[in-house]
């Protein structure tokens, strides 16, 4: 994969991670499922995996070989989002609120297992990772433009 594809996949992945964090923050008090059935919202995590380029016969020697492949082949790996998994490990919050429509017989409502502080920190990390990939792209662009001035 060339640098542009790698960076594009990284930006898409971080964007999706940010979307997931945003949906976690939006659903911090959600006690029903999307179709209205009872069941609190579980915190969601994205699962990333490296993305190998499609195997093709152009992937001969590594870049820096005598032909200097810049746009074909290459040894970089992008990132893909394998799945968005719900977190069933962290315990749910039980809040005492007998008047709530979804309270159980003891008066407790099961609230989502979302910690605001953790989500905010993850959001900052995702946005910094996005900026880091944009910087990598700009560096690659500057390298190409420097090469054009030869």
């Amino acid at each position: 994969m060339d640098i542009y594809e790698i960076t594009a996949s990284a930006l898409t992945a971080q964007r999706l991670r940010l979307d997931t964090i945003a949906s976690n923050l939006a659903n911090v008090n959600t006690t029903r499922q999307a179709d209205g059935t009872p069941g609190a919202y579980h915190r969601r995590n994205v699962v990333f995996a490296p993305l190998m380029a499609q195997a093709n016969e152009n992937a001969g020697p590594a870049p820096g070989g005598q032909i200097g492949q810049e746009t074909s082949g290459g040894s970089g790996m992008g990132v893909q989002v394998l799945s968005i998994k719900e977190d069933h490990e962290t315990p749910m919050r039980m809040v005492y609120s007998p008047g709530h429509p979804d309270a159980n017989k003891d008066g407790f409502v099961e609230m989502p297992n979302i910690n605001m502080v953790t989500e905010m920190v993850d959001m900052i990390a995702a946005s910094r990772a996005y900026e880091a990939n944009v910087t990598a792209f700009q560096s690659a662009k500057q390298m190409s433009q420097a090469a054009l001035e030869m």
Partner: protein
């Protein structure tokens, strides 16, 4: 694209995957196509075809960038970074073809300055 320092890249190797238009010009000079002497007509024809091919690729990148911008502007389902990457690629390809044009013109002027 062009690697004048390493002259071994000018010869056609078995299974060569590099699409360099100047590769064919170099190999014609060495008679690798088996025809012996290459006539000027052969070289010019191949070169203009190669140049047209490369210009088509640059045009393709421009068209992709236009398409991406239009899709984004009308609220389509394309992330913003994808638009910017397409536009950057098109810009880089255009700058490259401008530089190649400059180099060709310089080379031609160099040749025309040669004293007989």
């Amino acid at each position: 694209m062009l690697n004048p320092i390493d002259s071994s890249s000018f010869s056609l190797k078995a299974g060569a995957t590099f699409q360099d238009p100047f590769d064919r010009v170099g190999s014609l000079g060495k008679g690798a196509d088996g025809a012996g002497e290459a006539t000027p007509g052969d070289v010019l024809g191949d070169f203009s075809k190669a140049l047209t091919h490369e210009m088509d690729k640059v045009n393709q990148l421009q068209a992709t960038a236009d398409q991406a911008t239009q899709t984004y502007a009308t609220g389509g389902d394309i992330p913003l970074h994808q638009v910017m990457i397409s536009v950057s690629k098109a810009e880089l390809a255009l700058e490259l073809s401008t530089e190649i044009r400059n180099k060709l013109i310089n080379a031609y002027q160099e040749l025309s300055r040669m004293q007989i």
